[in-house]
Structure formats: C-alpha cells, structure tokens
Symmetry: C2
Subunit: 220 residues, 2 copies
C-alpha cells in the first residue's frame, strides 16, 4: 500500500472504533451490529471486514480504550511516592479497589461490555490485548511487593489477578440489583473492609508459589 | 378453576420449566426463545403466557432449580457438627468456596445463566426468589457467627454476601479464559489462600455495622 492508502485505512479504523464505542457505551455489546456501524460511518458492511479481520477485533478496539481509561483512573489514585510503611501499601490497595468501584459505577455499560465480550469461534485473545491487561495488573502488583515481599514475580502477578477478581466480584454483584442491594456508600465500606482483611491476613498469600499453587488445600 | 384444571396448569408449568432448563443448560440464556419452547412442549406461544406472566418468570423457575442444586452442593461440604475452634469455622468457609468453584466448573452454562439473566422492563425480583438467595447466603453466615461474633445479624448477612461476591469474582474470572488463565488446581489454591487471608484478617470485618457501613473509608 502507498502511504495515502495506509492513512485512509487507519482513519477508517479509528472512525469505526469511534462508532462502535458510541454504540457500546449507550446500548451495550448486544446493541452492536455491523449493519448499523456501516450506516453510521457511511461505508458498506464489506468494508468493515476489509479493515478488521472480524467483529471481535473491532470490539477489542473499544475494550482497549476502556482498559486505557481504567488504567488512568487507577493510576490517578495510587500513592506517587514510595511506600513508607506496610500500611501505606495496604491503603494503596484499598484506594485502587475503591477507584475500580467508582470507575465501574460511572462507566457501567462500557465496563460491563469489557467482561461480557467473549471471542467467537474460540479464537484466542490477541497478545497486544493480553499485554494491556498485564499493564493494568501491574498497578495491583506494586503494593504487593511491599506487602508480600516473599512472592516471586510470577506468583505476585497471579496473586494480583486473584485480588483483582475478588474486587471485581464485589463490584459487579454490588452494582447489580440482583444479589446485593446495598446503598453505594455501604458497598464502598464493604469493599474497603474486605481488601483490608485480605491485607491483614496476607501471611496466607505467602504460601503461593510461582505457579500460583498453595499448600494444604483440602480436597472436596 | 376446578382441581383438574389446576393440576393441568401446574403440570404444564413444570414441563415448560423442564424444557427451558434443557435449553439453558446446553445453549445458555441466549438460546431461549418462546417459539422453540412452545414447539418442544407442544403448545402455542400464547399458552406459555397463560401459564407464566412473562418469560422472566420462566427463567427464574430454572434459576430457582440452579439455586437449589447449589444449596445442596454447599450443604454437602459443610461441617455437620458444631465448630470446635475458630480454625474449624475458617476451614468451613474455604470448603464452601471450593465447593462453589466445583459447582461452577461442573455446571458452567447453567450457573452463568443465573448471573447473566436480568429482569426485563426493570421488574423487581419476586420475593420468593430473593428468599431463596437468602437461604443460600445463610450457609456462609453460619461460620461467620463463630469467626466474627461481634456482627449483628444484619451486618453478618451483608458480610456473607460480600464474601460470596469476592469468591464469585475469583471463580467467574478464573473460569473465563479472558483475564486469568490458570490451571484448575492453581485456581483452587488461589481461592483457598484468599479466603484464608480474609478469615485471618477478620478483625477488619468487625467495623461493619448493621447497615453494612464501616469506619474510616478514604474518599477518592
């Protein structure tokens, strides 16, 4: 391709992701149809598949923007200076969890779409998207260096992802009216108390080895 | 209605829930259509809406069976005898969490449908379904009586739901290939270590009052 064609291609990509982003942030993932996208951007449905290999790639383009926003939101609440104490590191984890809750509450539709999307036809997630997730988990790993210094880097990453998942569960079910209906302030307090309990009981996380494997788990 | 009519009505309800259950456990919630249900049961679409007020009610009928199965699965792993020690109560929570993971791994499609379903037109969940959820949380509340005896019953229920949500998050993201891909045994170990950390740090849960409100949560 000559340069102008390349630029046109890149510009169309951006416009399609912009359009998909508008649809997803208002109507969620279920509202996204190639036909509507094509109409909004003023191209044919076929053109979309010239620019993106499949619709999953386009949805990941929007997901990537959501991850970037979340990364910025979490980065903004973290202590900028090095931790002076164990308590600093523990409170940083609490702050990250609360910032995650605020983000999910503010951008609920977009955030939900990030988790509802599954690759079709059992395609693997592309490496660039996995790398972007890792960068996000790295924010959680930093306080863990101080809190659980015994963990090697692989184990620390695994524990960071597990903590993120626990926080995600409290936030996700808390924001549904289905299983939990707590006033928002109380949800914040519950989340903070749980993260504090985990950090207070952090000795239990020391048993995790680099494969994420702990000792002495009872068999069901 | 005369008795025979009532019986026929109840029998048709059961057959429709049976059919919906077969569809949901194979194809998930997205696979459920009134037309297919009517064909499978051999009635008209209109008849479905004679028997159920709306499709949500039918889906909750299947959800209720899932909750009952889960309740049985969790009940089966709990210590039958009274706790002899704090460690007994803590290990019971670990066992419940692992049983939840096993259940989700074994009945993934059915279990996912329970959480994916949202009432349409902002209908509230019926009280009987909420009560059935409460009965499930009661299994988590029992160890908390020993672990955090200071909590009043309302606060204990709130904490039980928060713990359930944290466990749910680890299980849900752990069973997705999206954000975490750990071998199943490692996921078990991560889950057990996290629940143990929470129980070891349980002093932090003591601050929760009956409204679910804790002290000293930083503002973002």
């Amino acid at each position: 391709m000559i340069a102008t064609q390349k630029n046109r291609h890149a510009a169309l990509r951006e416009r399609l992701i912009d359009a998909a982003e508008r649809i997803i942030t208002v109507n969620g993932l279920a509202g996204l149809r190639a036909r509507d996208l094509a109409r909004e951007v003023g191209c044919s449905v076929g053109t979309i598949y010239n620019v993106f290999e499949h619709l999953d790639e386009l949805i990941l383009g929007v997901g990537s923007r959501t991850l970037a926003m979340l990364d910025t939101a979490l980065g903004a609440v973290r202590l900028a200076r090095p931790y002076g104490s164990m308590e600093d590191a523990a409170e940083d984890l609490v702050r990250l969890a609360l910032a995650y809750l605020e983000f999910a509450a503010e951008h609920t539709v977009r955030w939900r779409a990030l988790f509802e999307h599954r690759m079709s036809e059992a395609r693997a997630l592309p490496q660039w998207f996995v790398d972007q997730q890792h960068a996000l988990f790295a924010q959680v790993e930093r306080p863990l260096v101080t809190l659980v210094p015994e963990l090697d880097p692989d184990a620390r990453r695994t524990v960071a992802r597990t903590l993120f998942s626990a926080v995600h569960g409290i936030v996700a079910l808390g924001l549904e009216e289905k299983l939990i209906s707590l006033p928002f302030g109380d949800l914040r307090d519950q989340l903070a108390a749980t993260v504090r309990a985990i950090t207070a009981g952090r000795d239990e996380l020391r048993s995790i080895d680099s494969a994420g494997r702990g000792a002495d788990v009872p068999q069901c």
